[in-house]
């Protein structure tokens, strides 16, 4: 049922996230607020940032972010503040910790493992590769190819 409520909320007016009344007068601060909003998840939505969401809770968070910015917090300070109140779940870029190590370094590990695998495969096969053509053979081959064209 809760899921259904989500869906309905999504459906009743998907547009309209940031409202004109929420915006800060200072364009630099507002730009920072927008950038931060993209990093924060609307907790009652499916996979939407608070910048995209029109849920009331997202609007509250947007206001909170702007309040903290006006109060003089740094970007990291604002995120810290929001995480202290709402937990790590609000971060769309999960923190690097022990339990997210696999998430953050898994792809890199796969790249390295795949790279080593490809290297070993090529190395092993290179040992058996036959001698390359000599310059003379190369020239003869070229002559044959050109004649055919």
């Amino acid at each position: 049922m809760k899921r259904l409520a989500f869906l309905l909320m999504l459906l009743t007016g998907p547009a309209l996230a940031v409202l004109p009344s929420e915006r800060l007068a200072d364009p630099a601060l507002e730009a920072r607020a927008r950038a931060l909003s993209l990093e924060l998840r609307c907790q009652v939505c499916q996979n939407q940032s608070i910048d995209d969401s029109n849920a009331p809770l997202a609007a509250d968070l947007r206001r909170l972010v702007r309040e903290r910015l006006v109060a003089g917090d740094s970007d990291a300070g604002v995120l810290d503040y929001v995480v202290r109140r709402y937990g790590d779940y609000v971060l769309l870029r999960p923190p690097m910790r022990e339990d997210t190590a696999l998430l953050w370094f898994g792809p890199l590990a796969i790249l390295i493992a795949g790279g080593i695998g490809a290297f070993v495969y090529l190395r092993r096969r290179k040992l058996t590769v036959e001698a390359a053509l000599t310059a003379e053979e190369e020239a003869r081959l070229k002559a044959i190819v050109e004649r055919r064209e």
Partner: protein
């Protein structure tokens, strides 16, 4: 009558699929031509029966037969005809019938067009294909029957989710499924090859057209979905790293890797076991995607199936298919003979790099999409993995891949010299540097990364064009020669040039819309004028609009460029009374270089969503009402989808290569020839 006929057809199709999954395979094992020959009529029959069932379902929707539960829940008598028809697959049960239909379609296509296939391979392939058919037809018949009746029938239906009532979304699922399910045939070919214990250049050549067709359709399906999100969701964005998007993106990435590795398998008889593995993975990820979407494990806009019983069934299919195929792979793959040799710096080496990066990119998307579920399942913390994660991990993998794209085709098979390749590419390099400098000079925001990305796009486009120019000897031979070389150039080579250039166009679109988007969010009253990215907007007020099954408020903006009327933009908000929900219709004006994009929100002071009574946007219509307007200027954004279209065309052109149709060169059927291609 039609629902019963459809239901019976589904059950019969299941029976036929059961027979087809046993007899031809047994025939191939026993070398019995009569048993093997059952594959063809069975594949035709299965397709006919599923098509009949699908037709019955569509008929029920078209005539608004409200004795059928599925029609009641997803249709309405006042709905436009297009959406009555597309409503048939805009729901869980119907979309599974579409899945089965496309599965059967591919099976029948192999039966019809696979004349040059060895009978054993063909019989085994069609049997494997039928096994997948059995799984999905059983799933439909036992858990997702689209033909359930209701009594007493309600006077009218509950209407289709209005977000789905859209031409883009009417065709998005069929295209997407053509891609998803198309990989099933590649999978079936891979399984058949493993059972036979033989993979050769001929096999790779038979598989490539099917991979091309599936990948091309998947490209179209994803692009259409992304375009729909862009104009329908009203955020001006086109890719959200939503799990459902990722679900279709993963098979696309692996499919792209498979396309490339199959070339090595075909031309050089190398990377064969790897190609088989990719064929398995492409379909496995299609199943994972189906599972993620159908099980409701990720509830999002797309996930209209919320029923755990179905989830368990699909999970079982997934485990049996993936587990079984990987076990067969582990058992048989070591028996496959390694083929042609090559140096690390060679065309093959470049394609290995392509596969390494595409494979890692797929793994990144896979881990990112499933990690929150995984962590929750083992009782860990709740985390969110969103766009910032994917941008930080996926994009760095794409940059080296895209740089490598222009090098690859320039390299010779077996052994190449980077110096010589550079020499042939210096024009592309110079042009790309020129584009970077030009971008920096013109761009007032001095966005360095964006300038570099523009250079990358230019590198892809010019790289593709130069490779083509070299092949046809442009500027280096008389025009007649160039013409005849261009005409005689294999279609596959044309296809590659087009697809790689399309990729470059897409990078152009991604860069432009990400780096230089202008956004204006403001309250507007009738008569207000304001500027967006050099265009002057005048808000003329709102009108009430009545559609077939909705009521709308339409806002009218006049847009002036250099004092002259450039466009009239009319974004809408619509209420669908039957479904009880509202949608936003963006108004988009494109000149192909940039989009103007306007949406209208609620009037000022409107209540929270969910308040009773008609929504504020319909009741407040006076002149003094202030409306929230969001206007975007999205530079280059059309090229995101046009680039995808060009890639599709490239794949399509490659598909027409007669070498794909004629089949293998004669010397190959014996296959065991050591390093035959030397």
């Amino acid at each position: 009558m039609a629902p019963e006929l459809g239901h019976i057809a589904l059950i019969l199709a299941l029976c036929v699929a059961l027979i087809q999954s046993v007899l031809p395979l047994a025939g191939a094992q026993a070398r019995d031509p009569a048993l093997m020959a059952t594959a063809k009529p069975a594949a035709y029959a299965q397709f006919f029966l599923v098509a009949l069932a699908f037709g019955c379902l569509i008929y029920s929707f078209v005539v608004s037969d409200f004795t059928v539960e599925n029609v009641v829940r997803n249709s309405h008598s006042a709905k436009p005809m297009l959406y009555k028809v597309s409503g048939a697959w805009g729901n869980h049960e119907g979309s599974m019938v579409l899945w089965a239909l496309i599965l059967a379609l591919f099976g029948a296509a192999v039966a019809a067009f696979g004349r040059n296939l060895p009978p054993g391979l063909k019989a085994r392939t069609l049997s494997i294909q039928a096994m997948i058919g059995v799984a999905f037809l059983a799933f439909i018949v036992f858990t997702s029957n689209p033909f359930n009746r209701v009594f007493p029938p309600p006077p009218d239906g509950q209407d289709l989710n209005p977000l789905l009532q859209d031409p883009g979304l009417a065709f998005h699922p069929p295209l997407l499924y053509l891609g998803y399910v198309g990989f099933s045939i590649v999978f079936a070919f891979a399984m058949a090859a493993l059972i036979e214990g033989r993979v050769d250049a001929a096999w790779a050549r038979w598989v490539r057209p099917w991979t091309l067709a599936a990948w091309s359709a998947l490209t179209g399906g994803i692009a259409l979905g992304s375009w729909w999100a862009y104009y329908e969701l009203g955020w001006g964005g086109w890719w959200f790293w939503d799990p459902v998007e990722n679900a279709s993106f993963m098979p696309w990435l692996v499919g792209a890797a498979l396309l490339h590795s199959a070339i090595v398998a075909e031309k050089r008889d190398a990377l064969k076991t790897w190609t088989i593995l990719l064929a398995i993975l492409a379909f496995a990820l299609s199943l994972v995607g189906t599972f993620l979407v159908r099980s409701g494990i990720l509830t999002s806009v797309h996930a209209f199936a919320v029923d755990p019983k179905r989830g368990v069934f699909i999970l079982a299919i997934l485990i049996i298919a993936v587990g079984g195929s990987l076990a067969l792979y582990a058992w048989r793959a070591p028996m496959l003979k390694a083929g042609g040799l090559f140096q690390p710096i060679s065309r093959e080496g470049g394609l290995v790099l392509n596969n390494l990066l595409l494979g890692t990119a797929t793994a990144t998307v896979f881990i990112g999409t499933l990690y929150p579920l995984f962590l929750e399942a083992i009782g860990g913390a709740k985390v969110s993995v969103g766009p910032p994660f994917f941008n930080a991990t996926f994009v760095p993998l794409m940059v080296p891949l895209l740089i490598a794209v222009s090098f690859g085709p320039m390299m010779g098979w077996k052994r190449a010299e980077l110096g010589a390749v550079f020499q042939r590419l210096w024009v592309a390099l110079a042009l790309s540097l020129g584009v970077i400098l030009l971008t920096l000079a013109v761009d007032k925001t001095r966005h360095v990364l964006a300038a570099l990305a523009m250079g990358l796009a230019a590198w892809l486009i010019f790289g593709a064009l130069i490779e083509w120019a070299e092949r046809v000897k442009l500027f280096r031979a008389p025009l007649a020669t160039v013409w005849s070389r261009a005409v005689n150039l294999p279609r596959a080579a044309w296809g590659m040039t087009i697809a790689h250039a399309g990729l470059g166009l897409m990078v152009l679109g991604i860069t432009g819309s990400t780096a230089w988007q202008t956004e204006v969010i403001r309250l507007v009253r009738a008569g207000d004028a304001f500027d967006v990215a050099g265009y002057s907007f005048v808000f003329k007020g709102t009108q009430r609009q009545e559609g077939p099954n909705f009521i709308a408020t339409r806002a009218v903006f006049e847009v002036y460029k250099n004092e002259r009327l450039y466009a009239v933009m009319t974004p809408e908000k619509r209420l669908f009374p039957a479904a009880g929900s509202t949608t936003t219709e963006a108004s988009i004006r494109t000149n192909l270089l940039a989009d103007l994009y306007a949406t209208i929100g609620d009037p000022e002071g409107a209540g929270q969503p969910g308040a009773a009574g008609p929504p504020a946007f319909l009741t407040q219509a006076g002149q003094d009402v202030a409306w929230t307007a969001r206007i975007y200027h999205n530079p280059l954004v059309p090229w995101v989808w046009l680039g995808a279209l060009v890639m599709m065309i490239g794949a399509g052109v490659s598909l027409t290569d007669r070498r794909h149709r004629v089949g293998a060169p004669q010397r190959l059927p014996q296959a065991a020839l050591p390093t035959a291609a030397e």
